[in-house]
């Protein structure tokens, strides 16, 4: 009994010290008088120096938190109890959040830097007139591969992934829409297909790829490719850029049949506590120099025309990461297919995974 009491006291003491420390830390970071905003972003998706710069320039202090999927971000905002002021969801998530009335309209008067954005990325179908969202980064889905591990083999088409020489070499990203979409694209169908026949055909085709699949994982893909544990990965352009940063042998290609073109955007959730501060932050991120520095750090493609002009032409001229408009023609943006269809995609994805067990 004595020991239990002692242990309990020890735990309480440690907790009290930690609580005090947290409070002290929060106080010291909140000495600015411009208020506070909390930013909710993907992991590794901003240059942390820019947050300091923003705090110094505006006297607004920033609380920064990260998420790892659109779905978990939405769930957290939907359930309330949070006061995120800015978040960076992808386009189909924005459509869904609009439907569920989770977004605060954006006042364009407060965002003069909007004029820096390439008009191509404005007024897109998922948010006409950019009423609720401002472009942050964009990119594609494609194949990252390491030719030195593949005897110089290269990739042009999705069908190349079915090549029997690639046994146990291909890593897929653990996401239903990307993988089923790849199956659809390889058959020449739209990756927004809602035709059950087409989806069935795509799933059956994916199953024949089973022997080539090494694993279906998430962010670990980058490490696996860097360390040459795997030779081929179906992944997002930014992840590919991350890999190439460390391992120069790696190359990235968007297959000729077409693929996904995606946009991540800054939004203000309805539950925001500091709407004015949120606008200030969005405007700050659109500043050409800031956006250029951010794009250099993150590795994804910036929609900011003025920033592109400031960046190393070797980077922005790279058609793998900044495909010119005519190449973008064959890419498709995800549409919000509705919960029911998303369920079907997931069920088919699960079926595909199940099929690989044996």
């Amino acid at each position: 009994m004595k020991e239990i009491v002692r242990a309990a006291i020890a735990i309480l003491l440690v907790s009290a010290i930690l609580l005090y420390a947290v409070n002290a830390l929060e106080k010291s970071s909140a000495t600015t008088d411009g208020g506070t905003i909390s930013v909710y972003n993907w992991g590794e998706y901003i240059d942390p120096e820019l947050i300091d710069q923003f705090e110094a320039e505006t006297n607004i202090s920033v609380i920064y938190e990260t998420f790892d999927s659109n779905e978990s971000m939405m769930t957290k905002i939907e359930q309330g109890g949070t006061t995120y002021d800015v978040a960076m969801p992808s386009e189909y998530a924005i459509e869904k959040m609009k439907e569920n009335d989770l977004l605060h309209p954006i006042d364009h008067e407060l965002i003069p830097n909007l004029e820096n954005i390439d008009p191509y990325f404005l007024d897109l179908p998922f948010d006409p007139g950019n009423e609720y969202s401002i472009p942050y980064f964009w990119g594609t889905v494609g194949i990252a591969f390491n030719p030195t591990l593949l005897e110089g083999q290269t990739f042009e088409s999705w069908d190349d992934l079915w090549n029997p020489t690639l046994e146990q070499e291909v890593i897929l990203v653990d996401s239903a829409r990307e993988v089923i979409g790849m199956g659809l694209n390889s058959l020449g169908y739209s990756l927004n297909s809602t035709d059950l026949g087409e989806l069935r055909e795509a799933t059956d085709k994916l199953k024949t790829m089973g022997p080539n699949v090494k694993a279906i994982i998430g962010d670990e893909i980058v490490e696996m490719m860097r360390r040459e544990e795997a030779a081929v990965a179906v992944t997002w352009s930014g992840q590919a850029a991350d890999m190439m940063w460390i391992n120069e042998d790696i190359d990235y290609v968007v297959p000729k049949e077409g693929s996904n073109l995606w946009f991540d955007n800054m939004i203000i959730p309805k539950t925001a506590g500091n709407v004015e501060g949120a606008h200030a932050f969005i405007n700050f991120m659109l500043d050409p120099e800031v956006a250029a520095q951010n794009a250099d750090y993150v590795g994804y493609s910036t929609p900011n025309e003025q920033a592109v002009a400031l960046m190393d032409p070797e980077v922005t001229g790279d058609e793998r990461f900044y495909p010119p408009e005519e190449l973008r023609e064959r890419l498709e943006v995800y549409e919000n297919l509705g919960l029911e269809m998303l369920g079907t995609y997931n069920e088919l994805f699960l079926e595909f995974k199940m099929d690989m067990e044996n």
């Binding site: 040459e228 919960l339 369920g343 199940m354």
Partner: protein, 274 residues
């Protein structure tokens, strides 16, 4: 105890706990399992569960959980037996238990490094003249890591029941002419069986719903009921279907508890009848 008038009072926190954290969540899961995507009442989720995809998943979950439990017993039983014979029992036991205090994710990431193409496991194979082999993302790595994680949970109850056996019984068995094998089969094994049962409960049920390891170590090529529940809640956002799978998982747990349950009260850890 029976005459203590304050007894009902002491039980209040217990009942509150059970009501809030056991009964309420299960009731909620039960309720959600009858809702479709729009929140209307439906039996479709249950119908869906009996479709081929989910049935196959359930079967394969059981198969893997069975293999994991079996291998864990095969390793843990001799270990526990040997532990009871050593001088510094508690020290050895502690050494076996300590790894279970380390976060599961941390251990999983460590194994990614160990089993990698350029990791120590393959280096060893190469010096022995074999490999390099693809170890990560296979059935083997999945079962190996799961067994490693569950061993302490099996060793502990078996050790406890073996340790409680009165040595006089074993001596008596020997004196009466039983061979070592017969002594084990007729005396030690029946007396320690409750420890094995507790161990099975502590391993088989969690093994059914493993989901971090299925992704990191098995590369999602092994799908368990746990993975499916996670997907339904976080990606598909079909809470109804997720709850339905969870209901079946609860049902399987109850069945397993009944099969491995012990009739005598309080005997679950020491394997001794009172």
């Amino acid at each position: 105890m029976k005459d203590n008038p304050s007894r009902p009072f002491y039980l209040v926190p217990y009942y509150l706990w059970i009501a809030l954290f056991v009964i309420a969540p299960i009731t909620l899961i039960f309720y959600f399992s009858f809702l479709d995507l729009t929140g209307a009442f439906t039996l479709e989720n249950y119908q869906n569960f009996f479709s081929s995809v989910y049935l196959r998943m359930t079967l394969s979950s059981f198969w893997y959980a069975f293999l994991i439990t079996l291998i864990t017993i095969l390793i843990a039983y001799p270990t526990a037996y040997w532990l009871t014979k050593t001088k510094h029992k508690q020290l050895w036991l502690l050494l076996i238990i300590i790894p279970s205090w380390i976060n599961l994710l941390l251990k999983a990431y460590a194994f990614i490094g160990i089993f990698g193409l350029y990791g120590p496991a393959n280096k060893l194979l190469q010096t022995l003249g074999a490999g390099p082999w693809q170890i990560l993302f296979t059935d083997f790595s999945f079962i190996f890591v799961s067994v490693y994680i569950f061993i302490p949970f099996m060793v502990l109850p078996i050790f406890n029941s073996l340790d409680k056996i009165n040595p006089a019984l074993i001596d008596a068995s020997r004196d009466l002419g039983a061979s070592s094998f017969t002594t084990f089969r007729r005396v030690i094994f029946p007396l320690a069986i409750n420890g094995v049962k507790s161990g099975v409960q502590a391993v088989f049920i969690p093994a059914l719903s493993l989901f971090v390891i299925t992704r990191l170590i098995a590369g999602n090529k092994v799908i368990t009921l746990g993975t499916a529940i996670e997907q339904q809640f976080l990606v598909t956002q079909n809470w109804g279907m997720g709850s339905t799978i969870a209901m079946f998982l609860i049902l399987f747990m109850i069945i397993i508890m009944m099969l491995t349950g012990q009739k005598e009260k309080g005997g679950s850890y020491n394997g001794k009848t009172k």
